[in-house]
């Protein structure tokens, strides 16, 4: 591994009233890597994401981004560093039009945010802002739904919108929390194509329940179990690891990757 990790955790631990949700996790990844995190329910995958993105601060341990200690940096500041996430339950603003969801994230790193006058007084539906936003929706193939209320979108389209929002924040490292959960088979195909396309420009961490969906997408697989990182390495090696097999499929050898 290169000596210059984009994100690194040192003995990251978080406890909630005696429950250790993430336990002594040492994790590092270099820029441009695509890492998958798998593990059974309640293994601490999402909590680990919450530590990386700043929703929780670790009880012990430290988190570094490009060599800088970000353990106590609040979430919104981490976003400006380029740490962007999506949520397990798709999280977009249902009460706003689709395009407004995107406008907010698009504006964050533009001149419209830099100038307080523009931020307070320009009409968000001006042609200039809408044009940029529509282009971004176009990339994800949902530009025809720009005017709808977000609550009218299907779950799959909401997921695409959430990814469009994440991408418009200029991620250096993109953390996707179960991006395929709740999607139909055809939508899963579309979303994986999108992820495949964008992962060339950034570092990607992706949590997934079903190994088969991400095994071709990532170059490295981490397995979490009861808050600990129990395996880390190339997908083939990790999947043939006996402890991983026991955690994931129990002792029976008959079941295979179809999970």
């Amino acid at each position: 591994m290169s000596s210059n990790p984009i994100i690194e955790t040192k003995k990251a631990t978080i406890r909630f009233n005696g429950l250790t949700a993430v336990d002594n996790v040492d994790f590092r990844m270099t820029g441009g890597e695509a890492v998958g995190i798998i593990g059974p329910n309640g293994a601490g995958k999402t909590t680990f994401f919450n530590l990386l993105t700043g929703l929780y601060t670790p009880t012990e341990g430290a988190i570094f981004f490009s060599g800088k200690d970000i353990t106590n940096v609040p979430p919104y500041r981490r976003v400006t560093l380029g740490i962007i996430r999506t949520f397990q339950l798709v999280s977009v603003f249902d009460s706003l039009p689709v395009i407004d969801n995107l406008a907010l994230s698009t504006i964050r790193f533009s001149d419209d945010y830099g100038s307080k006058r523009k931020f307070l007084f320009t009409n968000v539906h001006s042609d200039r802002i809408m044009k940029v936003c529509l282009e971004k929706l176009e990339v994800l193939g949902i530009s025809d739904k720009a005017d709808l209320m977000t609550s009218e979108l299907s779950y799959g389209d909401k997921r695409k919108l959430e990814i469009a929002v994440a991408l418009s924040l200029n991620p250096k490292i993109l953390l996707l929390d179960e991006p395929f959960a709740g999607l139909s088979d055809s939508e899963i195909g579309e979303v994986s194509l999108i992820i495949d396309r964008v992962k060339t420009n950034l570092s990607l961490v992706i949590i997934e329940h079903k190994i088969s969906r991400i095994v071709d997408m990532v170059g490295r697989l981490c397995v979490m179990h009861e808050g600990r990182l129990i395996a880390d390495g190339p997908p083939d090696a990790v999947l043939s690891d006996p402890t991983v097999r026991e955690v994931y499929w129990g002792k029976e050898e008959g079941l295979t990757c179809s999970v």
């Binding site: 976003v79 603003f93 994230s105 931020f119 809408m130």
Partner: protein
């Protein structure tokens, strides 16, 4: 370059003509209600706008907004007594005081949400009420209140009821215009997003605390503006302008009109004032009927009167298109 048109960028006649429509609306009810009541209605609408930017748009319900109204009312009165009787300067002083109280209390108040937010506002309002009624009664006249006198300006003579009416209407339209600008800007989208899911907004890279604070300051300033205009109209400040028990009035008005809309605030303000002014002269305990009205609104018209009208028009348009 090809121009982009989503439905949202299209100019809508209702959005473009809103200010003339509001002005015309008040001119129409002027002969029906008489000048004093209409002026009263307009001032109350300014207050509802100030309240609604916080409640309807950002989703923070305050039980203590009378404090900010009272701040404006007492500032303009004390200013005219001790500093200058120039009415415009006195109004300006009220605006500054309204903003200042938002700046000072904001960092404490906007940290909280839900019931805590509502009650902490109420707590500060109780403190303000006590200060005006008891602690500083030497300056405020305590329960008796105090009069405010304003000098005549060459172009604005506030002794004339029609001048007051025109000025107050202008102030309402100005407030409406500015708030419309705010709410249709990226800032407006941001505070609506905070209403829905504040945590998510943080993950879009926004420090939500700052924006909640700014919104709070806007709300207190507009409320103080309404307070100042009330004194301009009545010429007399009493503790009822800061009475915590009157906080429900503005909440009712916002709910009746439709909480997330500026048009709705004005309609709600007018409807509430109409009920409280006219029902009160026929029915001794009119508040009971207000309670029933609120029940109907909560169960039947979730989006308020204006939201209901918008929904109805939308359905009609869709039916015509078919």
């Amino acid at each position: 370059m090809e121009t982009v048109k989503t439905g949202l960028t299209k100019r809508n006649i209702w959005k473009l003509l809103d200010i003339p429509i509001i002005a015309a609306g008040f001119l129409v009810i002027l002969p029906l209600l008489g000048i004093n009541r209409t002026t009263d209605f307009i001032i109350f609408c300014v207050f509802v706008l100030g309240f609604n930017i916080l409640y309807g748009f950002m989703g923070r319900l305050s039980f203590g907004h009378m404090l900010y109204l009272g701040t404006g009312a007492y500032t303009i009165t004390l200013f005219s007594e001790h500093v200058s009787q120039n009415p415009l300067l006195a109004i300006l002083a009220s605006l500054v005081a309204g903003a200042l109280i938002g700046v000072i209390l904001g960092p404490i108040i906007v940290r909280t949400t839900g019931a805590c937010f509502a009650l902490i506002n109420l707590a500060f309002c109780q403190v303000g009420y006590f200060l005006v009624l008891v602690a500083f009664s030497r300056y405020t006249g305590g329960e008796d209140g105090m009069s405010a006198y304003f000098s005549k300006l060459s172009f604005l003579n506030f002794g004339n009821r029609y001048v007051v009416f025109g000025f107050v209407l202008f102030c309402l339209l100005l407030t409406y215009y500015l708030l419309k600008k705010f709410t249709s800007s990226p800032f407006g989208v941001l505070i609506k997003s905070i209403k829905e899911n504040e945590t998510r907004v943080k993950f879009l890279g926004y420090n939500t605390f700052t924006y909640k604070w700014v919104t709070f300051i806007i709300s207190t300033t507009v409320s103080a503006f309404a307070g100042a205009l009330s004194i301009l109209n009545y010429g007399y400040a009493t503790p009822s302008f800061i009475d915590p028990s009157r906080a429900v009035e503005v909440i009712f008005a916002a709910l009746i009109g439709g909480s997330g809309s500026l048009y709705g605030s004005i309609i709600g303000g007018v409807v509430y004032m109409a009920i409280s002014n006219y029902l009160a002269s026929y029915v001794p305990r009119w508040e009971m009927f207000l309670g029933f009205a609120l029940l109907v609104v909560v169960f039947r018209f979730r989006t308020g009167v204006w939201g209901f009208i918008v929904g109805l028009l939308g359905r009609k348009r869709k039916a015509l298109a078919r």
